[in-house]
Every structure is written in C-alpha cells, then in structure tokens.
C-alpha cells in the first residue's frame, strides 16, 4: 500500500520521529506559556528568545567561555549545560519579572505582550549583532552519538533524537505531576483561580508569580539546550518557532497542563505526517488546524469558555 503512494515505511517512520521531536518542543514551550499565563495573565512573547538564549548559553559554555576567561582548555559539556543553562536563563527571567513585568499587573494584559515583544527584539537584535544569522554548530554529546539499527526494516533511529523525545516527555510529565499532585502545585493552581483569596490565606503570591515566570523561562531554556545539537544555534531559531507555538496554544487552550502537552505533541505528529503526504502544506498545516478549531470550538480543545 505504501509503495502505491510512493512512500516508504522508512520515510514515514523518519518523518514521524521528526514530527515527534518538533511536537516535544511545542509541548515544552506551550507548557511554559500556559504556566506563565495562568499566574501572570500575560503571554510571554520573549519565550522564543529565551529558548534561543538557552541554546546560546550551552554553545557559549562549550566553545567560547574558555577563551573568555583565558583558559582555552576549559569548556562546559552538554550534561552540565542541560542544568546550568536553564538555571541561568531562568534567573534572568526572574530579574525581568521583578524589574519590569511586575509594574504592569494592574494594566491591560496586552501591555505585558508588548513589553515581552520588545524584549524579544532587543535580545535577538543583540545576538544577531554579535554572532550574525548564519548559525553555529553544537556537537551531539559523545554518549548519545550513533543510532539504533532496526535490521528487520532497515531503519536507523539516531540516539540523540530518541533522547530528546524521552527527556522532554519526562520533563513535561514531571511538571504535570508537580502542578497537579504537590502542595506547591496546588498553590499554583489556586493562584490561577483566585490570587486575592490565596494571599488572604497567607501565601506569598508575588513570590509564587516570580517563581512561575522563572520556571516557565527555565523550561524554554531547557528546550533550547535540547534543540542545540539538532538545529543550528542561531539568533533567529526562536522567533519562527514561537509563532507556531502560539497557534498550538490557541488550538489547545491554556486551561489545562495536560492539554498543552497533548496538543503540542499531536500537532508535531500531524506536521510530520503532512511532510510525508503533502510536503508543501507542512508549514501552514498548524495554522489551518487553528482556523478550523476556531470555527468549531472557539475556546480551544482543552479550553474553558470565559
């Protein structure tokens, strides 16, 4: 049957894996956006720039930092970077929240969108100024080079790509457990519902908001480090991705954590399948689905009508 359509099963599986990887990135980024939106009520437009920062932090740690501190031998490997980069970028997010976003909470949420849009332009512009738009290579860590071969159907699955899918699923699932099953997560959900009441119970809501923003940004940076060896590390890597993620968020609705994850991965897979059957449409398929969802179920698949 596959041969009739001019599609090999190997090609199908390969594209599905690509779709699954893109879907994992959509899931991690839209999860971060949903957490931030829940407490801050703003859409973090700089999410894409912070994803890019995460990748750049890893690349700088591996290739540039040694020369900067006068010790060319020194470099930070992939595994430490996977922890350090989200911590660093998350901390920078906390600074942004404390110094800027905090002043906008009493205003229309659109101002938060505009502020973070401006920040995204500044961050991207600076990295374009320093590193150009050509993109830098980031090596796959040695322990994850190579591929699993499935001799039966003549298929090679690169180890690193499988690791990306596994790691992002694990992080998404851990976030879900944390938010839905722990006490701190319960505070987070309560803050989303009614921050004033939560504060009246003696919970430090402003601190909770800062932490939520920092966590969402750290998630974006984590996705950036995971993406670094697959895609080129380039100043523009975030801006094109983030618009697709916005469409994903509109499709899923930001009401539910699991909803964000499922929608993200599902849309990645659909995109992968579109590449197999009708490649020209693969760039726009997410937007078309968004239009259809808006017509049939305006609140989004997992959203609540407000």
């Amino acid at each position: 049957m596959f041969e009739l359509l001019g599609i090999t099963p190997q090609g199908l599986v390969a594209q599905l894996l690509v779709g699954l990887i893109n879907g994992s990135f959509y899931a991690m980024l839209s999860l971060g956006l949903a957490i931030i939106f829940g407490l801050l009520n703003i859409i973090n437009f700089s999410h894409g720039a912070q994803y890019m920062l995460g990748a750049f932090a890893a690349w700088i740690g591996a290739t540039q930092l040694g020369a900067w501190i006068g010790n060319p031998e020194f470099s930070i490997g992939y595994w430490p970077a996977l922890v350090l980069s989200p911590l660093l970028i998350g901390a920078s997010g906390i600074v942004i929240e404390r110094t800027m976003l905090r002043r906008l909470y009493h205003l229309d949420p659109l101002y938060g969108l505009l502020l973070t849009f401006g920040l995204a332009l500044v961050i991207e512009g600076m990295f374009r100024h320093w590193y150009g738009i050509s993109g830098e290579n980031y090596e796959v860590p040695e322990s994850l080079t190579g591929a699993f071969r499935l001799e039966g159907i003549g298929l090679a699955l690169p180890k690193y790509r499988l690791w990306v899918v596994a790691a992002s699923l694990a992080v998404c699932f851990a976030s879900w457990v944390f938010i839905e099953r722990t006490k701190l997560g319960a505070y987070l959900r309560a803050g989303t519902e009614n921050p004033a009441l939560l504060q009246a119970f003696g919970v430090n809501v402003p601190l909770l908001i800062t932490a939520a923003y920092g966590y969402g940004v750290a998630l974006a940076a984590f996705a950036g480090v995971l993406a670094a060896p697959i895609f080129q590390v380039s100043p523009l890597m975030g801006s094109n991705l983030i618009i697709v993620v916005f469409a994903v968020v509109v499709i899923g609705g930001m009401g539910s954590i699991m909803g964000s994850i499922v929608t993200g991965i599902g849309l990645g897979l659909i995109e992968g399948l579109t590449k197999v059957f009708y490649a020209q449409a693969s760039d726009v398929v997410v937007f078309v689905i968004m239009a259809i969802v808006l017509l049939l179920r305006p609140a989004g698949l997992f959203g609540r009508e407000t």
Binding site: F37, I42, I43, M100, R103, L104, L107, D108, P109, L110, Y111, L113, L114, L115, F117, G118, L119, A120, L121, V122, I123, E124, G125, M126, R128, H129, S239, I243, V244, F246, A247, V249, V250, Q280, D283, V284, V286, F287, V288, M290, A291, L294, L295, P298, T306
Partner: protein, 314 residues
C-alpha cells in the same frame, strides 16, 4: 471643528504640499513616512479606538503590495486598477482573518492574528507569483489616469500625499461618527455595549475590515513608491513596527500614528547603516513606551496641554 483648528488643518495640509520644494529631506523618504503613517492610522482605528490588538497587520499591507506589484508588472494593469485590486484583496483577507479572530478576546485575538499572518507569510514564500526570496522587483509606477507620469518623484509625491489625506480623512470620519462612538463603547466596556443591544461582533468585524482595507491601500502605494514588493512586507516585524508606531505616537489619538510613523521611519533610516541596531532600538523603545510612556508622544503632549489650561483657569 472650530475656526481656529480649521486654520491649523489648512496650514498643515499646505505645508505638506510644499515639501517637494526643498532639498534637505529626501522626498522618497517622506513618501515612505506617509505610507507608514496611513498604515498606522488604519491600525490605530483598531487598537486605539476599538481596543483590539492585531499582531498580523503585515498580512494586509504585504498582500496588497504583492497583488498590486504582480498586476502592474506582469499583467500590465494601469496604476489605479492595480491599487484598487490590492486594496480589495486586503479587504477580503481582512474579512477572513477578522471573522476568525473576533471569535476570541484579548491576548488570544493577538495570537490568532499573528498566526494567520504567519500563514500568509508562508504562502508568500511558496506561491509562484510572488517571486520567493527576490520578491517582485521593478514594478512600473505607470501614469495616473493616463495623464500624469508617476516616474517623476514630485508627481508621485503628490499622489501619495493625496492617498494619505484621503485615508486619514476616512479614519477621522469613521472615528467621529456614531459608528466610531460604538467602537469606543466596545473598547471601554464590551459587555455593556452588548447589553445595550449593539451587535458587537459585527461592529468589530467592520472595524477590522476597514482597518485592513486602509492598511492594504498603504501597502499598495508603498509597492509603487519603492517599485518593490518583498517578503519583508509580510513579515511579522512589520506587524510589530506598526504596533510600535501607534504606541509611540499615542494610541487613540488622531495624530499619534503619524508622529509615530515619522519617528520610527526616521530612526530606522538613521540606524540602517549599522546592522542590527535598528532592531535593538525598536525593541528598546517598545520597552520604554510600555513601562513609562503609555500615552505616547501625542497623548503626553495633550495631557500636558490640558494640565496647563487647568492651571491657568484655576
């Protein structure tokens, strides 16, 4: 409008008409400012007077530029027909995007318009008639009504100026009409406007289509000024720029978008030689505007003038 302000308007319009008779400012740059000023006025009708933040207005601006460029260059249409077709394309696109986007409010509205505009961008990359990365180059300006040769920059300037004044007058008329009052009511309190019996969705859609149409008119005119329609015109950077022009100039004021367009285009022209600095500056102005300067230039001046009058009277 009283006698005094009428005199000011006549003086301002006449001053614009005198601009070709000097050689300090490059006249093509003034035409660019006028196109973007019209674009920003159209955008302000939506953001400033209806309270809807569209992040996808580049789609209307750019698609109109492409259609005008293609018709005038490849099919040899006359200039007026090309502009009309471009503007109508933007109107039709505005109807489709608007119908979808008004199904959600606030932040979702912004994300939907941005996503749909990105789809238009991808279509522009792939469709054969847009010329891909090169865009449509060498669009002939043609002659106006078969009489006036627009290759002459002075003639072209007066044409662009006339288009701008017409567009501005349409926005002014729309804002100062019963229709405009309903839009402001929706901006201030949508549920109340709804409970008063206004068909809010239809008013929003009408405002959206009007805004998209005028944005298209600006895009078509721009494609003739520069004789160029490229992917830059449909890119989300342009959508962001028009937001910035409106915000910086003062949203919800008539002259704000014009001042904003003048400032942003002037700044970009000044910074264009030094790589990414214009992007950085654009972003930084955004941040400053949102944090400290939300009324914009014209809004702040107006507030200062009102304070002054109050002190003098009291």
């Amino acid at each position: 409008m009283n006698g005094r302000s009428r005199a000011w308007v006549v003086a301002a319009v006449a001053a614009g008409g005198l601009l070709p008779f000097q050689d300090v400012i490059y006249i093509v740059l003034v035409m660019k400012v006028l196109c973007f000023a019209l674009f920003a006025c159209a955008f302000n009708l939506l953001l400033g007077f209806t309270g809807l933040l569209s992040f996808g207005h580049a789609a209307f601006f750019g698609s109109a530029a492409y259609v005008t460029g293609y018709l005038c260059r490849s099919l040899g249409w006359p200039t007026e027909a090309g502009i009309l077709a471009g503007t109508l394309t933007a109107a039709a696109l505005g109807f489709v995007v608007g119908s979808l986007a008004i199904r959600r409010l606030g932040i979702y509205f912004a994300m939907i318009t941005l996503a749909l505009a990105q789809m238009v961008y991808f279509l522009a990359v792939q469709l054969p008639f847009t010329g891909g990365e090169d865009g449509i180059q060498g669009i002939p300006r043609g002659t106006l009504f078969g009489l006036i040769d627009l290759k002459n920059d002075t003639a072209m300037y007066y044409f662009v100026y006339a288009v701008f004044l017409c567009g501005f007058a349409i926005v002014y008329r729309a804002v100062h009409s019963p229709f405009g009052q309903v839009l402001k009511a929706i901006r201030e309190n949508e549920p109340r406007a709804l409970s008063l019996g206004y068909d809010v969705a239809r008013f929003k859609l009408l405002a959206f289509v009007l805004s998209a149409t005028l944005a298209g008119l600006a895009g078509s005119t721009k494609s003739l000024v520069y004789q160029l329609a490229t992917l830059t015109d449909v890119h989300w950077h342009i959508s962001g720029e028009v937001v910035l022009m409106t915000l910086l100039g003062g949203m919800g004021t008539m002259l704000g978008p014009v001042v904003g367009a003048l400032t942003v285009v002037g700044l970009q022209n000044y910074l264009s030689g030094i790589g990414s600095w214009s992007t950085i500056a654009t972003g930084a102005i955004f941040v400053v505007c949102v944090l400290a300067f939300r009324r914009g230039i014209v809004g702040e001046l107006g507030a200062a003038a009102r304070r002054l009058i109050r002190t003098n009277n009291g």
